[in-house]
């Protein structure tokens, strides 16, 4: 009878990081601390602090030189002086251009989110109710655009909608006059819906696929019509998915730059585009920073909503 010991594989040589691990522990740093600290430091330096810097520079004014903004702290004869300007924020509130840009960004993002939901919900529902062997293929078809370049897909839309584009050539076959689609708000809506549809479908699918079908059967057995079952059971149970999907479309749409500048016209006002022009054309960095801070204020509530909804989506899965 062999001993248990002989059946075990021979002990491997100590791993090279073993010594390092011990040495770190000697100075009071555990592996656990390192695991948390490394990304925490990176994210603090390159994500949290930059947001603070944006806020600080939004309180400066434009000046010529490098960097092109006035210093906040100046030392003069041994005294340190802190100079803060609120002029950028005053401008944001009083200049009708900025107010209009914010309002029109919110409007465009809101309308596109609703359209995306109207298209995405039945698609997610169809995938969730499809035979199981089809589901993975259909899901892959939803995810595939997410992996392909966003910029190139928006570009593909321009070829589709332009004056002599695919749609107008198709309409021409039936003798219909070409439609003007490019450089309109309509094109921007199409662009946002087209680009962000997968973001809507995926969380909706996650909640819908877990929906207990016996509830639907029970409802039908009790004499509900399909639309009654839909309104009283399917819809309320999929609210976390609806909120998560809607926020995943709404938040990036608010700050969108590529879509309005490639598909929209000169009069399509969106705040992302205003920020870009302020920065690159007017080189007014403090003003651009103030626009960014104000945009952040607009997206904070949707971000919190999203966090809550995603927690709910995950909870349900357990």
């Amino acid at each position: 009878m062999s001993t248990i010991g002989s059946q075990l594989p021979p002990p491997r040589r100590l791993l090279p990081w073993k010594g390092l691990e011990r040495r770190l522990r000697d100075v009071g740093i555990s592996g656990r601390t390192l695991v948390i600290a490394a990304p925490a430091i990176w994210l603090t330096v390159f994500f949290l602090i930059p947001l603070g810097v944006v806020f600080a520079i939004s309180l400066a004014t434009k000046q010529f030189g490098r960097p092109p903004y006035s210093p906040l702290l100046t030392t003069e004869g041994g005294t340190v002086q802190l100079t803060l300007h609120l002029s950028n924020y005053v401008k944001l509130i009083t200049d009708p251009l900025y107010v209009a840009a914010y309002l029109s960004s919110i409007r465009i993002a809101l309308i596109s989110t609703v359209i995306t939901l109207i298209i995405g919900f039945p698609m997610a529902y169809a995938i969730a109710r499809a035979p199981e062997k089809w589901r993975n293929v259909l899901l892959m078809l939803v995810i595939l655009p997410f992996w392909t370049s966003f910029l190139l897909r928006v570009y593909a839309l321009t070829g589709f909608m332009r004056g002599n584009g695919v749609i107008n050539q198709f309409l021409g076959l039936f003798g219909i006059e070409p439609l003007v689609m490019m450089q309109t708000d309509f094109a921007v809506y199409v662009g946002i819906v087209y680009s962000y549809l997968p973001f809507m479908i995926l969380p909706l699918y996650t909640t819908l696929v877990k929906l207990d079908t016996s509830l639907l059967e029970a409802s039908a057995d009790l004499g509900s019509r399909p639309w009654q079952t839909f309104l009283s059971i399917t819809l309320p149970l999929s609210i976390p998915g609806i909120v998560a999907g809607s926020m995943l479309v709404f938040i990036p749409a608010i700050g969108e730059f590529v879509i309005p500048s490639l598909l929209g016209g000169p009069e399509t006002l969106m705040i992302g585009r205003v920020l870009w022009d302020e920065f690159f054309s007017a080189t007014n960095w403090p003003r651009a920073a103030a626009v960014a801070v104000a945009m952040l204020v607009v997206v904070v509530i949707p971000i919190v909503l999203l966090q809550k909804a995603q927690d709910a989506v995950v909870e349900k899965g357990k």
């Binding site: 944006v54 169809a126 078809l141």
Partner: protein
Amino acid sequence: MRRGWFLPIVATLGFAFLYLPVISLVVFSFNENKLVTVWTGFSTKWYSELFRDPQILGAAWLSLQIAFCVATIALVLGTLCAVALVRFKKFRGRTVFAGTVSAPLVMPDVITGVSMLLLFVAMESLIGWPSGRGVLTIIIAHATFCTAYVAVVVQSRLSDFDLSLEEAAMDLGATPARVFFDITLPIIAPALVSGWLLAFTLSLDDLVIASFVSGPGSSTLPMVIFSKIRLGVSPDVNALATIIIGVVALGVVLATVAQMRGRRQNAKRA
């Protein structure tokens, strides 16, 4: 439930909407006419033109190098974030940490871009690093938002993971680091691969953040494409798009097939 005609029709129309513009772009990349949307005959001349354009080739090579570095950094940081969030249930500042990990996912690009640039400029005037902007600053900016994506992908894999395997190794006397490298890492490997690839494609695709933090001589591929298509349609961009979309589509299809096979085999074994 009764299977109606409504859902299949909506789904078909939805997929048509998602795919027709891309399909038409691929088809017209083989069009010989310069007017991109008027078909006159089959030709591959835009592809040969593309491979003779030093600006596009240079930008593509630069973008691939950046994406490689970004994906690797984001993989390490994102995996650490995921391990911290899934394995360590309690530590000081966990809520703030969790929020900071996921916030870059939804932050509008223009805000990330502007804040990164202002940070780099402020750092340069304070400590002299990074001197100027270019490849390094693009890598740092991309790695930061890609970390969040990797963290999400790895987190989901880590949370449906049989903890008893790790416990068994611990009981047998393995150190936490050894458990991680010998047990945890092989099991979450598929998630690491998809996290790396996701970070790679996101970096390769980013226009807005790169525009803010790049410097002279470091124009990435999306920046070159954007300036080209702003001037109008150019058939060589169609050719480039076809190549990129083809490579990505092939990769995703292969990955999905492999995953489905694996799952089916697992099901058989069980």
